[in-house]
């Protein structure tokens, strides 16, 4: 089955019809894998040839410590392709199958678990430019999108019809395909359930290039969710949408202790309030958020945010509060905090850097697990923050984060190990891992056995030659004929972590002492501003999605995230080419990245500084910059971007609001 009957695209930045890209000077292709794909001459496919550009695909939201990149994994992809059509995607997969090359599907690269990071090279399929919103059916209340469509763009498009997606991930700049493959639990999951309940149908392209249309009735349908790219690449999805509720809003209550807060949340859930979503945030998290908001809007206490979506809920909630004698905070503060649900990584600026664990846990075990984790963190010299999203059926998604300094590689590596210890502790307290990727592979033995076996059977059917995201999920591979990944094997990692977990307080305090020692010993003497900003960056990829230069070049090196990763790579000794350096200058200075940045990083001054450094070593191609600007000014893609507003939905003028409100 093909996707020809899906309908005409109504929104999309990378539609094949407007695909003409700026011809920046290119590096010659020296790699065999890339060369072979280029030779195929597949239409609507951009092959990323430059090694420097491929480097950007060797990580996702979280950074892989250098020691692991050197000794454990081959994270640098052999080739990266950006398909713009389902046909191009099929062709690439068929080619990979015939060559027996590993295919790593990638969305926006905003997950922290490493699911889209190669561990043994291969072809990364970057789906983020297949981002068309194909159809909004206002009568049937359905939405059909290409897998690379981002939730923010979808939300904006739907809002024109008074609609919204029932549930979305906390990263609004992640892709639909990415969330299908990695998780499916997020905002409003409490009331609307798992993503698989809201997606009506999807198209999966399996390695043989066949487009398979799966609907909720198909037994394989549910298995695609959380399959982490093992079965194929999701190409399109049809999602049930709902009207934006006209009544209701977020409510905020503050408590002196986490125990009281959790008790209150429990009472709300047990009552007849039927909230849309409930979030608990620990006092330590509130402290950082309040700092990021730049004011004393919040008292430093444990917080519960309850989102209500109808009149009845509001009335019942008011009654419940009266009964409990609880009083809520001002509405604007509640809205502040509720808005922050989309920016959990903002606090990364404080580290700079953040590590942690994300697990699923029964609500009745929450309190115990949090107490245990807090005690362990304190012993290891960490200050943990908790964020709990309640889910249906007595479960909750728990995020436990702590700040870490990415500027100090050694200390950061130890901190990364501590995050494994933390996950171990939480699992021992009754949790299970949420996503596997690379980091959680050590706990993959805690996945549901029958589900895992069913997935294995389906994979044998769809991907018998095992080219999809090879070396992940079922068994982690890596360098040294796969031995590199073995350190994350549950059979190895489990005893190690168990020893540590079983020997407190000695083991914890030793880890804490080690961190302290490394912090002192390897404290970087000088922190480049651009590298410091790169460490502060949440790597959420929002800047990529709004960058007009990216839409005009298809090259992520021109984006803020691309520039920051380049700066970090250079600081780490990665050699960059002259062409790569000159890509950094292809910027429209539109400040869209600064505007959309959740961490409010001062990007433009950082670019200026970085360009100064690059100009010293590589010169500056003023002609190419000029050519690029004139190309942009003539480009219909650019016209459309500007007409829509680069950051969709953002205020367009000083008074705030949309252009038409003036």
């Amino acid at each position: 089955m093909t996707s020809s009957d899906v309908g005409r695209p109504i929104h999309g930045k990378g539609l094949p019809s407007t695909r003409e890209l700026f011809g920046a000077k290119d590096e010659s292709i020296r790699d065999r894998v890339s060369q072979r794909i280029v030779e195929l001459g597949i239409p609507n496919l951009r092959v990323v040839a430059a090694s420097g550009e491929r480097m950007l695909y060797s990580r996702d939201q979280s950074e892989i410590p250098r020691i692991l990149k050197t000794f454990a994994f081959r994270t640098h992809p052999d080739a990266v392709v950006q398909p713009l059509s389902v046909e191009a995607l099929s062709a690439v997969l068929r080619h990979a199958l015939s060559e027996g090359t590993t295919v790593v599907p990638r969305g926006a690269g905003s997950s922290p678990f490493g699911g889209s990071v190669p561990v043994m090279g291969g072809i990364v399929v970057d789906m983020s430019r297949m981002d068309a919103i194909l159809e909004v059916d206002e009568d049937d209340k359905t939405l059909t999108v290409q897998a690379g469509a981002r939730w923010a763009d979808i939300d904006h498009e739907l809002s024109k019809s008074g609609l919204r997606v029932p549930t979305c991930p906390s990263s609004k700049f992640s892709t639909v395909g990415g969330w299908i493959a990695t998780g499916g639990l997020g905002i409003n999951s409490y009331s609307k359930g798992h993503l698989s309940a809201n997606v009506l149908a999807l198209e999966l392209v399996s390695p043989d290039g066949v487009v398979r249309r799966l609907s909720q009735a198909d037994p394989e349908f549910a298995q695609v969710f959380g399959s982490e790219g093992q079965l194929g690449v999701v190409a399109t999805a049809t999602i049930a949408v709902a009207e934006i509720p006209k009544v209701g809003g977020p409510h905020l209550l503050l408590f002196d202790s986490s125990k009281e807060a959790l008790e209150f949340a429990g009472k709300v859930l047990a009552s007849d309030v039927e909230p849309g979503h409930v979030i608990y945030e620990s006092e330590s998290k509130i402290r950082l958020v309040s700092g990021a908001l730049g004011g004393e809007h919040l008292r430093m206490l444990d917080a519960v945010v309850v989102s209500l979506e109808c009149q009845e809920s509001e009335e019942r909630f008011a009654k419940l509060l009266k009964k409990l004698g609880a009083s809520e905070q001002k509405e604007y503060v509640a809205r502040y905090l509720w808005n922050e649900r989309f920016f959990p990584m903002k606090v990364r600026t404080e580290g700079p850097g953040m590590l942690g664990a994300e697990v699923l846990i029964p609500t009745k075990k929450l309190g115990g697990a949090m107490d245990g984790a807090t005690a362990a963190c304190k012993a290891m010299g960490l200050d943990p923050m908790f964020e709990v999203h309640y889910l249906p059926d007595g479960e909750a998604l728990m995020l436990c984060f702590f700040l870490a300094d990415q500027g100090n590689t050694f200390a950061y590596t130890v901190d990364a190990f501590k995050s494994l210890v933390l996950t171990r502790l939480l699992i021992d307290a009754g949790a299970r891992p949420y996503s596997i990727g690379i980091w959680n592979h050590a706990f993959s033995d805690h996945l549901d056995r029958s589900e895992r076996e069913a997935l294995e059977r389906l994979k044998a059917k769809l991907d018998p030659l095992e080219i999809m995201n090879t070396g992940k999920y079922f068994a982690l591979s890596g360098r040294w004929a796969g031995l590199g990944g073995k350190i994350f094997d549950p059979r190895i990692m489990k005893p190690v972590l168990e020893v540590i977990v079983k020997l407190p307080p000695l083991s914890f305090s030793l880890l804490g002492k080690l961190s302290g020692l490394l912090r002192e010993r390897f404290e970087p003497r000088r922190r480049d501003r651009i590298v410091a900003i790169a460490d502060e960056c949440a790597m959420c990829g929002s800047c990529v999605s709004v960058c007009p230069a990216y839409q005009l070049t298809g090259d992520e090196r021109v984006t803020a995230r691309g520039k920051l990763i380049t700066a970090k790579a250079m600081a780490g000794g990665f050699p960059i080419s002259r062409e790569h350096a000159h890509r950094i200058f292809l910027c429209m200075r539109c400040k869209a990245c600064e505007q959309v940045c959740q961490s409010k990083l001062a990007l433009i001054p950082a670019f200026e500084e970085f360009e100064g450094v690059l100009e010293k070593s590589f010169g500056k191609d003023a002609k190419e910059i000029e050519r690029f600007l004139r190309f942009a000014e003539r480009s219909p893609v650019y016209d459309a971007l500007i007409a829509d507003g680069l950051v969709v939905g953002a205020p367009r003028h000083e008074q705030g609001g949309e252009l038409r409100d003036v």
């Binding site: 910027c587 200075r589 539109c590 000014e633 650019y638 367009r652 003028h653 003036v662």
Partner: protein, 460 residues
């Protein structure tokens, strides 16, 4: 060989930063998209030369207030406002528009163009209430007003004999009084300038020399060098209190000017007898009854009555009659005694725009003298507190070449506008414009007539 009178003009750039009429500000939400650059046909918006990815600051003085950039900006980041400094320029008849128009004329020598989008009033007090006849403006021309036909802007200075008498043999018997002729009805008056440096005097004198007109300057401010360089175009002005019976005059122009004060009648007698070959001008402050003073001057054979109005073109003292009315009264009086051509009427003060020249002449002046407008041509900002040391444009330091170029540009542009007016009226000689009140409508008179007709008060 025939040579048509012509004032050479060339671009003379301003020395000080320009004061733009409109200020465009770019808000922080500008995305440097370049739409404004594409929209603006005047070149206000350009990408920065040092980094073309960013927009340069708007070149405000080029803005013509068309609002296209404001309308086209996808971010609504551009705001246009009236320039604050511009709005506070000048006072009285010296409005920001008039001052900046003179700046433009002095820079380019071109006739300013208003009209497109003109949102002002079509009438106002004094000169603004005068509408000159333009009935001939539709006459088809092949090569424009300046090429089509010869329009003379020459005027005479001195007493014209009212009749000529001849001997039977045909020789002229009438003794002709001294008579001068200049090719434009404009002279330059340095005596009223608030600041003058040697360079300014030299520059303005040099401009007068090139344009074959006269410059009026205090006799004490003139050096021997200046006199030897520009003596033939300088009219020395003798300040009050000098003993005219002993005064030495440089020979050159053949014209001298005194100021009317209590002893003027004696002074004039002394001067006329001492220098019978000289054109003697008397400068008189316009006050109530000025027309009678001019009549007295006529009786004493004074060649030129140089009437001084204040900077707003009004009479001094309590009367506050405007030059347009006052000149008309003088003209009518002279006509009524039948001796209009026996004296040259020169008017100065309040001439702030090119059209004030033909309007003054229409009201009865033979010649106008330009004063404050000269300073404006030199970028003067008409500060209330004026001193060379605190001058915002450091006017005293301007080179004489620059001064000369600016003044010639302005006077040239004013003459061209005079030609336009004459051409539109179908008048070929500026002498014939003098006192031609029938070729103009006076708004206040029309209004009175109209009101009278409405209330049935009858015709006047």
């Amino acid at each position: 060989m025939y040579e048509r009178y012509h004032i050479p003009m060339k671009i003379v750039e301003p020395r000080a930063p320009r004061i733009p009429e409109f200020t465009i500000s770019r808000a922080d939400n500008c995305i440097n998209c370049g739409r404004c650059e594409q929209a603006c046909i005047y070149g206000v918006h350009k990408r920065s030369e040092s980094d073309p990815r960013e927009m340069a600051d708007p070149v405000n003085h080029l803005c013509k207030n068309c609002f296209r950039c404001v309308a086209e900006c996808p971010q609504r980041a551009l705001t246009m406002s009236n320039g604050a400094e511009y709005c506070s320029l000048g006072r009285g008849v010296w409005t920001p528009l008039r001052i900046s128009t003179i700046w433009g004329e002095a820079e380019t020598g071109k006739i300013p163009v208003f009209g497109a989008g003109y949102s002002g009033m079509f009438s106002g007090p004094h000169f603004d209430g005068m509408w000159t006849d333009m009935s001939e403006i539709v006459r088809p021309t092949r090569d424009g007003i300046h090429g089509r036909e010869f329009i003379s802007t020459s005027v005479d200075i001195g007493r014209l004999p009212l009749s000529l008498q001849f001997t039977p043999s045909g020789a002229l018997r009438t003794e002709l009084p001294p008579l001068l002729e200049i090719p434009i009805p404009m002279v330059l008056d340095l005596t009223r300038l608030r600041i003058k440096s040697e360079w300014m005097i030299r520059g303005i004198a040099s401009a007068a020399k090139h344009m074959k007109t006269y410059v009026f300057a205090d006799i004490d401010s003139l050096t021997q060098d200046m006199l030897s360089d520009y003596g033939d175009c300088i009219v020395p002005v003798i300040p009050p209190g000098k003993d005219v019976s002993t005064i030495e005059l440089p020979n050159g122009t053949g014209m001298v000017e005194l100021t009317v004060e209590t002893s003027w009648k004696n002074d004039s007698k002394t001067l006329l007898s001492r220098f019978p070959e000289m054109v003697v001008s008397f400068r008189v402050k316009a006050r109530k009854g000025i027309e009678d003073t001019v009549l007295e001057m006529l009786d004493r054979d004074i060649a030129v009555a140089h009437i001084d109005y204040d900077d707003d073109g009004e009479e001094h003292g309590a009367s506050k009659r405007h030059a347009s009315e006052s000149l008309l009264a003088i003209h009518s009086k002279l006509v009524s005694v039948g001796r209009r051509d026996a004296i040259t009427v020169m008017a100065g003060g309040g001439l702030a725009a090119a059209e004030h020249v033909p309007k003054s002449i229409l009201c009865g002046a033979d010649i106008v003298s330009l004063d404050k407008a000269l300073l404006m041509a030199l970028e003067c900002r008409d500060c209330v507190e004026c001193a060379a040391s605190s001058c915002p444009v450091d006017i005293a330091a301007a080179s004489s070449e620059w001064v000369e170029g600016r003044v010639m540009n302005m006077v040239g542009a004013w003459r061209d506008q005079l030609l336009e007016v004459l051409g539109a009226m179908g008048i070929r000689e500026v002498r014939r414009l003098r006192g031609e009140v029938g070729r103009a409508l006076f708004f206040d008179k029309l209004e009175e007539e109209f009101k009278a007709a409405l209330v049935g008060g009858g015709r006047r």
